[in-house]
């Protein structure tokens, strides 16, 4: 029996880090050679890493969303037999001997072969023999000797002069989190001794899909590379904002009927386990509007000088995920009934939250919704996802004064706004379409039956 550590490899010719997207195994799992262990996302691709060993998983380094440095320990596996001769770091550190040979002894040079050691890309070509990236070997054999954490947190600790050996880890499997380091920084008096990781509390320092330094601890100016989801979002927004002339219409409607319908449906056995929300009804309403006004579900193909009208709705839903904004879509949303739409929305949201949305799920959106209500705002003027003709923003549903007959009464109202591509959609069509969505929300039962 021996322990072998799988170091995060460079899967794409010169990458320095990768983000953990999903673990496929847990501590204690028995794995076979080449069994998928984890999905990682690099600047180039999302890839699955197969296990280099057969054995039992004894440690996973890093949580979903963590950005790991290439060459850092990723998975520790207790192998059934002695680790294969060239096991990634199970051989006793051979780093110091055989000075004329890069990756001396039996330590492969390739794990993290593209990583600069200290001061930038120049050293890639000049890795000194004794510094082949064997990585922190002691971690593999004796976790207690080196505190377990993730590279960003190590960096954070180093920048603030915190010795991780003195910090108690409260993360998964005792991993030291940023919060732990921050508590250590704040001093022992304010450090709760047994507080669980505050993962569920909304973070105020989440920005562009990552945690940034707080106002007091961060540098005066910080530069963040534009890549991954952030780059996709930036590219899409620029392409759309400067490619499609946007115009907008908006309307406030009485959505009390929608709220009451949802309450009435909540305990129906047929809908058991299905999460319903005003968004479900809005999604049905938008699809219904597309059926009535097919021009709404169109796009402007500038290169072909053609307007493309689609009689199938791939309904994009803007989703705020830990990795940033993405817009996956529900293919053929116009064919779904209330239950089908709710199930599809649940699935889309769960997948996006888990970070497992596939690129294909984000292709060919024809019409989109952005639900800003949960952020407690009344409305927004959204930018069109590329390829769509219209996007509807849904504000918060709230009780507001409303005139019914000659009386002012409290009603559940909601603001709907719609940005549209003014090259092919004019104000009249946009207004008629948003009014249609509004009527649907006011009397959803009649619309569902009638539609």
């Amino acid at each position: 029996m021996s322990e072998a550590t799988f170091l995060l490899p460079d899967v794409g010719e010169g990458l320095v880090e990768a983000e953990i997207v999903a673990w496929k195994v847990a501590v204690g799992d028995v794995v076979t050679l080449n069994q998928p262990l984890v999905d990682i996302e690099t600047a180039k691709a999302t890839v699955e890493l197969p296990s280099p060993y057969a054995g039992t998983v004894t440690a996973l380094h890093g949580a979903v969303g963590d950005v790991m440095a290439v060459g850092a320990p990723l998975v520790v596996i207790e192998t059934d037999v002695d680790a294969p001769p060239a096991a990634t770091s199970s051989a006793p550190a051979p780093a110091a001997d055989a000075p004329t040979s890069v990756g001396a002894g039996r330590t492969p040079v390739l794990v993290g072969y593209g990583v600069a050691e200290d001061d930038g890309a120049v050293t890639r070509r000049r890795r000194r023999p004794s510094e082949a990236p064997v990585a922190p070997v002691p971690v593999a054999s004796d976790p207690s000797r080196s505190p377990r954490s993730t590279p960003p947190v190590r960096l954070y600790a180093k920048q603030h002069g915190v010795d991780l050996a003195t910090v108690r880890g409260t993360g998964r499997d005792g991993v030291i989190t940023r919060d732990d380091v921050e508590r250590a920084l704040a001093g022992p008096a304010s450090a709760p001794t047994n507080r669980p990781a505050a993962a569920s509390e909304p973070s105020t320092t989440r920005f562009v899909g990552r945690e940034i330094e707080s106002w007091s601890t961060g540098p005066l100016e910080e530069r963040i590379p534009v890549r991954g989801v952030l780059r996709s979002m930036a590219d899409a927004m620029v392409q759309s904002a400067f490619g499609a002339p946007h115009a907008a219409v908006w309307v406030r409607v009485d959505a009390t009927g929608t709220v009451e319908l949802l309450e009435g449906l909540r305990d129906r056995p047929a809908l058991a386990g299905v999460r319903l929300s005003p968004l479900t009804i809005v999604a049905l309403a938008v699809c219904d509007a597309a059926r009535h006004f097919p021009g709404l579900n169109s796009s402007f193909d500038a290169s072909a000088q053609e307007v493309v009208v689609r009689r199938r709705v791939n309904l994009g839903i803007a989703a705020n995920t830990a990795r940033g904004l993405i817009v996956p879509n529900i293919k053929g949303a116009d064919t779904l009934d209330l239950r089908g739409m709710a199930v599809a929305l649940n699935g889309l949201v769960d997948t996006a939250r888990a970070g497992t949305t596939t690129p294909e799920a984000m292709l060919h959106t024809t019409l989109a919704i952005t639900n800003v209500g949960p952020f407690a705002v009344d409305g927004a003027m959204p930018i069109l996802p590329p390829g769509t003709g219209a996007i509807i923003a849904v504000g918060q549903v709230a009780r507001r004064p409303w005139v019914v007959g000659d009386d002012v009464v409290a009603r559940h109202t909601v603001d709907l706004s719609m940005s549209f591509d003014h090259r092919q959609i004019d104000g009249a069509l946009a207004s008629a379409a948003i009014a249609h969505v509004g009527r649907f929300l006011t009397d959803p039962a009649a619309s569902i039956i009638g539609g």
């Binding site: 799988f6 170091l7 995060l8 490899p9 460079d10 899967v11 794409g12 010719e13 080449n34 180039k44 691709a45 999302t46 890839v47 699955e48 890493l49 197969p50 296990s51 280099p52 294969p84 001769p85 060239a86 990634t88 004329t100 040979s101 890069v102 990756g103 002894g105 039996r106 492969p108 040079v109 390739l110 794990v111 993290g112 072969y113 120049v122 050293t123 000049r126 000194r128 023999p129 596939t358 690129p359 294909e360 292709l363």
Partner: protein, 354 residues
């Protein structure tokens, strides 16, 4: 998408279909041999992808989906014919007898070569797109001048077909009637660029413009690939000049391990090609026509598995060479500039840094 001109002898369901010009009279053993070749190279390819994902190879260019194009063409070669591949022709290298571990040396970055091209009559992988076609035509012109009864086969892709080198090689091959067979594996994607954006006509039509025949073959049909390649090689050896074979196929995986095909193509397309798998159709033919049983298929799979484990062991045992050996084979004879580079590297290492 595939016109009438596609030469096919075996349907995706494994049924033979007649063709007016080509037929196959291969027997059980030859076809089973093709099957074995394809299963083995696919398994070795998958192991290589895993090794790359485990940090043991710098890069890998998977061939999955193109086994029939490579095995059919490779097995049509005579021993003394010479081949000039690009970087994805692991199946051709297998037919030439190159040991799998030697194919992986360059991908592990432990060598700039991997094998002796003369020994296997198989040149080293060319990474510069399309260059090998010029080398192939030059070699073929040499054969002509030697009066040897040999032919040359060179492999490239639909992406390389847009390169000037390839078109120049067509000109030279045509002008000198060189004994060369161009095998263009049209796998539909030049990394992320679809073939439809690169050409307005079927690629094999291009040969006619240069003055030699071009044919399009179902590249996932190993029998058709073998027969068409064999005739083209015979033609070249007997003074008939060059032929362009467009093997119409599909790259099931990534261009290399450095890209992510799900970002530029849709699953539905991959699914269509999955039903045209080159191995499954041969398996169906072998079972139906020759009564080959599961036990034989299992034996082939077991052999492939053993070879994959052996390959893994061989790769893990490859140590990094002394970096200064990279200067050894730049020129055949000593060269002062190369020597200066070698000395500089030695100095920088002993100096402990930069």
């Amino acid at each position: 998408m595939i016109g009438d001109e596609l030469i096919q002898l075996l349907t995706p369901e494994g049924e033979r279909i007649p063709h007016p010009e080509y037929g196959s009279d291969l027997g059980r053993d030859e076809i089973l041999g093709f099957y074995r070749d394809m299963v083995i190279v696919r398994r070795l390819c998958n192991e290589s992808t895993s090794l790359q994902r485990q940090g043991q190879l710098a890069l890998w260019a998977p061939l999955q989906g193109q086994e029939a194009a490579q095995i059919g063409a490779g097995r049509a070669l005579a021993p003394m014919d010479f081949t000039f591949p690009s970087y994805r022709e692991h199946g051709v290298a297998w037919t030439r007898g190159v040991p799998p571990k030697d194919m992986l040396r360059i991908f592990r970055a432990t060598t700039t070569g991997g094998w002796d091209p003369q020994r296997y009559r198989h040149s080293l992988p060319m990474v510069v797109l399309g260059d090998q076609t010029l080398h192939a035509v030059g070699y073929a012109m040499g054969i002509q001048r030697d009066g040897a009864q040999e032919a040359v086969m060179t492999f490239f892709g639909d992406g390389a077909s847009s390169q000037g080198d390839v078109l120049e090689s067509f000109v030279w091959a045509a002008s000198f009637n060189a004994p060369v067979v161009f095998v263009l594996q049209n796998n539909q994607w030049a990394i992320s660029e679809p073939t439809s954006l690169q050409t307005k006509i079927p690629l094999y039509h291009r040969a006619h413009g240069f003055g030699f025949p071009g044919v399009r073959v179902d590249g996932n049909d190993v029998l058709a690939m073998y027969e068409v390649a064999k005739r083209a090689l015979d033609n070249a050896r007997s003074g008939g000049g060059p032929t362009l074979i467009e093997a119409y196929t599909y790259r099931m995986g990534a261009h290399t391990t450095s890209d992510d095909p799900t970002r530029y193509r849709v699953d539905a397309e991959v699914e269509v090609w999955r039903h045209r798998d080159p191995i499954e159709r041969v398996k169906a033919l072998l079972a139906r026509e020759f009564g080959i049983h599961k036990v034989t298929f299992d034996e082939v799979a077991a052999e492939a598995e053993a070879l994959a484990l052996q390959l893994r062991e061989d790769v893990l045992a490859m140590d990094a060479p002394d970096p200064t050996t990279m200067f050894d084979h730049v020129y055949a004879e000593p060269h002062p500039l190369v020597e200066a580079g070698r000395r500089e590297m030695i100095d920088s290492q002993s100096g402990g840094g930069h």
